[in-house]
């Protein structure tokens, strides 16, 4: 299985992004469909992986003609990209909106014109705006990280727990933080130091070096994003600190290798699949070709696919590493 998705609803072939040839009845070439894809700018590793994975997935199918719009963080531009897809009469649209609420109207419009929309990662504000929504579980991610820390430190009431968040103004960051503090609250812990980076290596390094300076004694750190985690680790190494353990987020191959090595402060990471958009492309293809999901009892493609957020630790890392994304 590719990342994390096997416990959830997902067709078989889609799991295995790492393998070359897809298999299964649904993967047999059908009529060629044009799929419009729009996502934010690849200004951080995970987002870069998203776009790359989507493109690779489309290349895998000769019956997909993927129309990729330039990545943008300007919702105004993103709206016109979707408008243009509608104009061009594409067969399906996959959108990872920069801001879900802001793209709801135009997505609704596409749906009304009969073009199925697959909403990835950041949710629209109304369900009618998308035929399928593929979501990571941000709140669940926070919870998983929190629960892991609870497990390790639950008996230490005065444990110092730090959090290195991503971009604070994004709802997904807020969800993650909420899940994290909710889970911690259940074992009477709380976040004592919190900084936000910006999902970049550089931002992670800066935030972490300041954080380490501000908190001389830490027991655990949760870092929301493994891409910025490269910078975080660099800062930790530089400060020569190892009195704590670190839980990552997103599940990049880099981090998993750290976990595998066993001598790193990184003990675990919570997966947030970067293949969501690739899944979205697949689903869009099915919708456009009016195929159904072969792996579910229900014949139709489901409304909502929420990907699971498992925790990767030294115990199960070999299971996840082969398919993790190189951020």
């Amino acid at each position: 299985g590719c990342t994390s998705n096997e416990p959830q609803t997902e067709d078989d072939g889609g799991d295995d992004a790492a393998q070359a040839a897809p298999a299964g009845a649904n993967d047999e070439p059908g009529e060629t469909v044009t799929i419009g894809f729009s996502a934010p700018a690849a200004d951080h590793g995970w987002m870069g992986a998203i776009t790359t994975a989507a493109q690779e997935e489309a290349d895998r199918f000769e019956d997909i003609d993927l129309q990729v719009a330039e990545g943008t963080n300007d919702v105004n531009v993103q709206i016109s990209q979707v408008e243009q897809f509608i104009n061009d009469g594409v067969d399906a649209i996959v959108v990872l909106p920069f801001d879900g609420a802001a793209l709801t109207e135009v997505a609704t419009q596409a749906m009304q014109e009969g073009i199925p929309v697959v909403n990835v990662d950041r949710e629209f504000s109304t369900p009618e705006a998308a035929r399928v929504t593929v979501l990571g579980d941000n709140y669940g991610m926070g919870r998983s990280a929190g629960e892991y820390i609870c497990e390790r430190l639950g008996d230490q009431g005065d444990a110092v727990i730090a959090e290195i968040a991503g971009i604070d103004s994004l709802p997904l960051t807020q969800d993650r933080s909420q899940g994290f503090s909710d889970a911690l609250a259940e074992c009477d812990l709380e976040v004592s130091n919190r900084v936000d980076a910006d999902f970049t290596v550089q931002g992670g390094e800066e935030a972490a070096s300041n954080l380490l300076q501000a908190a001389p004694e830490i027991d655990a750190i949760w870092n929301h994003d493994d891409d910025q985690g490269v910078g975080v680790l660099s800062a930790i190494e530089n400060a020569g600190r190892d009195e704590f353990f670190l839980v990552g987020g997103a599940g990049s191959a880099n981090m998993m290798r750290e976990i595998e090595s066993g001598d790193s402060v990184v003990e675990a990471t919570v997966i947030y699949p970067a293949t969501q958009a690739a899944d979205g492309i697949r689903l869009a293809r099915l919708l456009a070709q009016e195929k159904a999901m072969s792996d579910l009892v229900e014949v139709e493609v489901p409304r909502m696919v929420q990907l699971y957020a498992p925790v990767v630790t030294a115990d199960n890392v070999d299971q996840y590493l082969p398919t993790a994304f190189e951020s």
Partner: protein
């Protein structure tokens, strides 16, 4: 060369050809003539569009998509044209736009708008934008803070304030009257586009045909001469920044209509796009020469480019590289054509 320091490093080229310009005709007057290179670049892009994507590219539908997209950045860029012509710079427009959308879409404002009239919502956005602009203007004119720094500070502060007000939540606009009007069409053309056209024409008129415009050019061209000629340079500076803020407020209204949402992330990095459009349009970054027509063309070129890329199946990184090359080509083309006209 005292007037072009900001582009000073590129002066030799200028000296060689531009300052020797013979037709003493003021350049912003020539409107399309001066912008011939830009028009050609635009036409070239359209031709490429038609070749690669078929006639649909210049179909009415697609043109409207382009224009609707251009509307927000266009309105903002027109305000920025004034500031740059007056010799300043405004880095804050993007985040002021964000703040205005947030303020206008708070529950309080929306409730009031529903109780009274949707115009309240519009007025709120415009007021927030204008006030931010005026604050910039005061800092620059009376505080003696260079405009780059003053508006940079405003950029940071307005974004922060927007986050605080919205609690970083995206606020949905539900004032139906507002949505009906601004998301609608008038004579087959989206209201958004009408607003853009009106602001552009008003901006052109203000800059090219009124005493206000003349003062703006004088203040930007040689502030000392303007002052000695009795122009109240400081007060004028405040107004110019006010206009830029007002335009950001109008842009916020359009953004609210287009996205039906207000959020602090609206307008992120918009300032760079706006300044780029203004400068490509032929307004001197050093001040003293401004062209609204050029700005509009600059905005359209960027919007068409965007549209063109979406049509073509290019990898988005390749798109970025291509965009860089095209920007340079467009500018060189423009230089060629405007200097060819002169000699």
């Amino acid at each position: 060369m005292s007037e072009s320091p900001s582009t000073a490093a590129e002066a030799p080229a200028t000296t060689g050809q531009q300052t020797v310009s013979g037709s003493g005709e003021p350049k912003f007057r020539l409107g399309l003539g001066h912008s011939l290179g830009l028009v050609l670049a635009l036409v070239a892009l359209l031709v490429v569009g038609v070749t690669t994507s078929g006639e649909r590219f210049v179909g009415l539908d697609n043109i409207m998509v382009i224009l609707r997209q251009a509307a927000v950045i266009g309105v903002v860029s027109i305000g920025v044209t004034f500031v740059i012509t007056a010799g300043g710079i405004d880095l804050s427009v993007g985040s002021v736009l964000g703040l205005s959308t947030v303020w206008a879409s708070t529950v309080a404002t929306q409730t009031m708008a529903e109780d009274v009239h949707w115009i309240v919502l519009v007025a709120c956005a415009l007021a927030v934008g204008t006030v931010c602009g005026l604050v910039n203007g005061f800092l620059v004119a009376y505080g003696g803070v260079v405009s780059f720094i003053a508006t940079l500070a405003m950029l940071v502060a307005a974004r922060g304030l927007a986050e605080i007000i919205s609690d970083r939540q995206t606020q949905i606009v539900s004032v139906q009257g507002f949505l009906d009007v601004f998301r609608g069409n008038l004579l087959g053309v989206p209201v958004l586009v009408w607003v853009f056209v009106i602001v552009a024409v008003a901006g052109w008129f203000l800059l090219a045909r009124t005493t206000f415009g003349r003062r703006t050019i004088a203040v930007g061209g040689n502030p000392e001469a303007a002052r000695l000629a009795g122009i109240k340079v400081r007060r004028h500076t405040v107004w110019v920044f006010g206009i830029s803020g007002l335009c950001a407020g109008i842009g916020a209204v359009l953004m609210l209509a287009r996205t039906t949402a207000g959020t602090s992330t609206h307008g992120y990095l918009l300032e760079l796009d706006a300044i780029a459009a203004v400068v490509i349009g032929g307004t001197l970054l050093a001040g003293g020469r401004g062209s609204i027509v050029g700005t509009v063309l600059g905005v359209l070129i960027f919007a068409v480019l965007q549209n063109l890329f979406t049509q073509n199946n290019l990898d988005s990184s390749v798109q970025a590289v291509t965009r860089g090359a095209i920007i340079v080509l467009a500018v060189i083309l423009q230089r060629r054509f405007s200097s060819a006209r002169r000699t």
